[in-house]
Symmetry: C2
């Protein structure tokens, strides 16, 4: 529905706006200024982001919470159910399985995989751990379109290849490595080492031992 190409950062902010909106009653009307303050951006940014998709506001008034929530929910395709596969049932994978976000209806983990024979067959959060060998056939069978990688770095590329063969269209990668996927597949990386190292840089800035300003 957008009139033009939408920047990814705009889509990310829509998700943030939606979360903020959920704290208000449906009937409330919020101005772009108020919404901006809630999420730490500017009123112009809010209006620009929203108008990529349509005219959902009331001039002179603002945005009706219920209406805007509904529109963003539809834009982000959260008015449907997505089934997910998770590969790598280590500490992080298990933690994500219990994540409240996966108890909601929009996203539901449907299949889980590991390459450790000791784990295959056991049940976690109601799901049986399958062998990574079964990834593509299982995903094809279930029509799963989103995969989450929580394996060690070494296994991530092979797992990604299997997910792609199984027909996924999106991958959320937590392994600390840059994986390569076909252009058609949307890849998002969550890179803890990178985040920490970036913090390290900014913290060392402006200290006597490593100023980074001129």
């Amino acid at each position: 529905m957008p009139r033009f190409r939408v920047p990814e950062i705009t889509v990310e902010r829509l998700s943030i706006y939606l979360r903020a909106l959920k704290k208000f009653p449906e009937e409330k009307v919020l101005s772009s200024q108020e919404l901006a303050e809630l999420v730490g951006t500017t009123d112009a940014q809010v209006r620009k982001d929203i108008t990529y998709f349509g005219e959902f506001g009331i001039p002179g008034q603002g945005y009706h919470v219920g209406k805007l929530k509904e529109e963003i929910t539809h834009i982000l395709a959260l008015d449907r159910e997505w089934e997910l596969a998770l590969v790598g049932v280590g500490k992080l994978g298990t933690a994500l399985l219990a994540y409240p976000g996966f108890k909601k209806k929009e996203f539901r983990i449907r299949a889980i995989f590991d390459n450790d024979p000791k784990k295959i067959g056991i049940r976690i959060e109601g799901l049986i751990v399958r062998s990574v060998e079964k990834i593509s056939e299982t995903l094809s069978r279930y029509g799963i379109k989103i995969g989450i990688i929580t394996t060690p770095a070494e296994a991530a590329q092979d797992v990604a290849d299997r997910l792609v063969r199984g027909g996924v269209k999106g991958i959320l990668n937590f392994a600390p490595v840059r994986i390569i996927v076909p252009e058609k597949v949307k890849l998002k990386n969550v890179d803890l080492s990178m985040e920490l190292e970036t913090l390290s840089y900014f913290l060392s800035e402006g200290t006597s031992t490593g100023s980074h300003n001129f």
Copy 2:
């Protein structure tokens, strides 16, 4: 040391370059082109990122792996040890405590906190869980400058305030909420819901039920 203001995205890419470099022998020389391919960017980008900080390459040859690794390590301040505090010893917090990145010397979790009386006092990965009440005094005492928030959304702002009072200069926030910190404190968000919702958007693009292209 940089001559000009450095974009955050450049710092993030330096972290990625560094990880790629670690797979090569010290004596090897890589061109910006080769390095770019390894991490999925362009040769011009690699050179631009690096030259914010100095001239580390050899015209006609490329970049000496050992030398470049050393320089980036120094730029990112990874040639020192950072002590961290982690707040919220639930599934995700516990998973992060076991994360291999925290077994290395650059980042070490030194103190952990929770608000659940049943958890306070127990030992996890060699650390005793303290009460969130003790955050600021403990951080001041130890001189901890980085905090990780793995609490539920409701607790995150209070925890952030305590971390700031304790003197942290950087926060890595995993709670699904936008927290507010003083300008001097560097905040990085890892937002799983947002990542999934962005994937949802891109996957619904170009499908019959919700095309987002014109």
